[in-house]
Amino acid sequence: MINKTTPEFSLEALKSGEPNEFARFVDTFSGPIYRMALKMLGDGQDAEDVLQNTFLNAFKHIHSFEERSSLSTWLYRIAANEALMLIRKRHPETTLTDTNLEDAEGEDYSPLQFVDWCCLPEDELLSVEARRHLDRAIQRLPEKLRIVFILRDLEGLSIEETGQALDLSQTAVKTRLLRARLNLREQLSSYYGELTHDRRDKK
């Protein structure tokens, strides 16, 4: 998450290509952009490619930045495009996603699992294995839901900023976010539900 204490940048210096200011810009935003790419792609090399292309593009296009969004939202927008392009390149067989998504949106996404796993202790909910499972669950989301969830719930962009970054209306962001969250809840319920049963059996 890019926090509230993000330093201010001189847009003038960035636009005139001043390397010192640009290096500071890269160091401020490369962490969140790299993490976003890693969560989106699930692969270190792919995430690094997205990271480099994002800043190369930012460098190239900063002169046309019009401040219609914040600098960080603008950067997330470039990174999201890079990540989605890379997914399409790597997995052309799964790029029927526009139709897939419409199908998915028409689909019944009613909850199916009603195990209450909330009472599991925090060290089990966030164990190394559980964290791996949390990451895997994100990877299983259709990518257009995945990117919305990552920007909104992991990187902490607002609904409005997520819409700006992805060229989506706020209604579309909310719809996709709800589907992503419910999908993840189902996946986590399978995993944590089993842990809950195991604990009960032991008692």
Partner: protein
């Protein structure tokens, strides 16, 4: 309305509810329903926990590994500024 149909009709409001941005009327309706419907109550609790867990995994500052940072600065021709 049957219980299940009511559950489904409230599903659309769940994100706004857990984010605390649902309008007051719907919020009251949802809370009333949840207090009488065990399944929905579990769905709301586990949905909230799901979001909480993902927040917890990104609470630590995001760092770029040193070698990744180095290659990034090289690709941007900013090698001279690596020491910062």
């Amino acid at each position: 309305m049957t219980q299940t149909a009511h559950c489904k009709s409230l599903l659309e409001s769940l994100s706004d509810y857990v984010d605390g941005t649902l309008n007051e009327d719907l919020c009251v309706e949802l809370q009333r329903h949840i207090s009488a419907c065990q399944n929905c109550s579990i769905v709301v609790d586990t949905l909230r926990k799901t979001i909480y867990l993902y927040h917890a995994t990104t609470a630590e500052p995001a760092n770029v590994p040193l070698d990744v940072r180095e290659r990034l600065f090289h690709s941007l021709k900013l090698e001279a500024y690596l020491q910062h």
